[in-house]
């Protein structure tokens, strides 16, 4: 691959994704409103009923709003990953995807470039949410906003790769509702985004085990620790492994000779 060609193609794909994001203002607003509803309403309601003892990375008792903020950041990235997946399926149905797939670059590179572009958008959305949360008095240490960046990139890549993988399996836009029911909701609710593992242990033996192995939980923990200037090595390794797995499977899924593309009767 010619490095200059590669860089230009990457620029093209990222620019297009950013321009689409800018043009679709409602997408940004809805990405922001969803976690804010959870923060302003859900968290306010649960503040008094959900006592949280100090567990790492927190050194003191914290408000429930502080606890769920990293989870809501994760939620933004989870939904963005699924939104990218949805737009891939839509583009494939409408034909736009063909422009990308017939370009003279390896399929894996095109998918990685698309993934990077989607991650960039999700990072911008996450910082937008944290800015609003700041004014709502949900604040992390200043340096945490900087140490958060690599965690957001890694979590965004992993969740975006999951979206890519799903899009390679979904043949029609109508099937996307199933993704909501069988992927997004279980991943979100069966994670540490809304409640810590020890809270789940109080009510079930199975649920905390499932939550612990849920890649979304590890992405949230990576974000949570990073937001407080700490590094969670286990969560980082787990998220990296999940990224490698999802991305490899997505590349196979989009390979014209190996994956789902071969089974779809030429429909792209």
């Amino acid at each position: 691959m010619n490095p200059l060609h590669t860089l230009r193609a990457l620029r093209g794909i990222v620019t297009r994704e950013l321009l689409r994001f800018v043009h679709q203002r409602e997408r940004f607003v809805s990405a922001l409103v969803r976690p804010l509803v959870w923060l302003f309403i859900f968290a306010a309601g649960f503040r008094s009923t959900l006592g949280l003892s100090p567990t790492p990375p927190y050194e003191t008792y914290i408000l429930y709003e502080d606890y769920i903020t990293p989870g809501l950041v994760g939620m933004i990235q989870l939904f963005n990953g699924m939104q990218s997946s949805l737009s891939m399926v839509y583009d494939r149905e409408m034909g736009n995807m063909r422009t990308l797939l017939v370009s003279p670059l390896p399929r894996w590179f095109l998918l990685v470039a698309k993934l990077l572009a989607g991650t960039l958008v999700s990072v911008l959305q996450a910082y937008g949410f944290l800015l609003v949360a700041w004014f709502y008095d949900v604040r992390a240490p200043i340096e945490g906003y900087l140490t958060l960046l690599p965690a957001l990139v890694l979590a965004g890549l992993m969740l975006g790769a999951l979206g890519l993988l799903l899009s390679s399996f979904i043949e029609q836009l109508e099937n996307f509702a199933g993704v909501m029911n069988f992927v997004i909701f279980p991943m979100f609710f069966l994670s540490t985004a809304l409640y810590p593992l020890w809270k789940l242990q109080e009510s079930s033996q199975l649920l905390p085990v499932l939550a612990q192995y849920n890649p979304f939980s590890q992405a949230v923990e990576l974000i949570r620790f990073a937001l407080y200037g700490q590094f969670n090595a286990y969560a980082c390794a787990y998220t990296l492994a999940a990224l490698a797995l999802f991305l490899s499977a997505a590349v196979i899924g989009y390979n014209p000779s190996k994956g789902m593309m071969q089974k779809k009767g030429g429909k792209q």
Binding site: G12, R20, N96
Partner: protein
């Protein structure tokens, strides 16, 4: 690797099936630079399947395809770099401007910004679309969108231009403008043009013709030869004769 004498597009014994259904059966033909070949076939003849293989949206399992001497399976990026495509469905981004759509394509083909801007100007001016480069695609009519797609397909100066029923859904003046323009391209750009259609009035007497029906090539040659072979008075009747009236 790039053999100058190699045909721009070489399709050799290509077959494709969707499960039990055979969509293409041992299809072979070549298209040379400066030649305009019409791939004529009724709906469901296998034209779009063939295009999916040539654009490598779908992998060739039986037979081989070469573009400018590059085997599509073994040297896919080099082969695809020499291909310009206009798909049946519009593949432009509706929310972006004409210019931004073309820049996106230029980036995917590794063109520098300066060269890309020059080529965009050239190709859009040829089709009287340069003044409209800042308009959002959504605001263009179907004919103008097609012009932009043709300009886009030519930006990287391909050896082969594929057009998959590009006039579907257009009014007569737009259809005529596109048919005339594409026929000129093979000589003005010295490229190989492969035009898939089911409309016989888009064929010129000088075109080479391939009639595809149920995945099999029923005729390959010039228009006069077709009339002579089938003893029919027109391309339309010869086409009907070869496809048993299916459109």
């Amino acid at each position: 690797m790039n053999v100058p004498a190699a045909p721009a597009l070489f399709i050799d014994n290509v077959s494709l099936s969707y499960g039990e259904k055979l969509a293409l059966n041992k299809v072979s033909f070549t298209v040379s630079r400066g030649e305009c070949v019409i791939l004529l076939g009724p709906n469901g003849a296998g034209k779009s399947s063939l295009f999916s293989l040539v654009t490598r949206l779908y992998d060739t399992r039986e037979g081989a395809i070469e573009i400018a001497g590059f085997n599509l399976k073994r040297h896919s990026t080099k082969a695809l770099g020499r291909l310009g495509v206009v798909f049946q469905q519009s593949t432009l981004d509706m929310d972006l401007s004409v210019e931004r759509n073309l820049l996106y394509h230029a980036d995917l083909h590794g063109l520098g910004r300066k060269l890309a801007n020059t080529r965009i100007r050239e190709e859009l001016e040829r089709q009287a679309m340069f003044e409209r480069r800042h308009e959002t695609v959504r605001h263009l009519n179907g004919g103008h969108r097609r012009r932009v797609e043709i300009a886009r397909a030519l930006l990287h100066k391909p050896d082969v231009l594929l057009l998959d029923e590009p006039t579907v859904g257009l009014d007569m003046p737009s259809r005529k403008a596109i048919v005339d323009y594409v026929h000129q391209l093979s000589t003005t750009h010295n490229i190989a043009v492969l035009w898939a259609t089911h409309l016989v009035d888009e064929i010129f007497a000088t075109d080479q013709l391939i009639i595809l029906h149920k995945g099999i090539i029923r005729y390959q040659g010039s228009v006069p030869q077709l009339l002579e072979t089938t003893a029919m008075p027109s391309v339309a009747s010869a086409f009907q004769h070869l496809t048993k009236g299916e459109k």
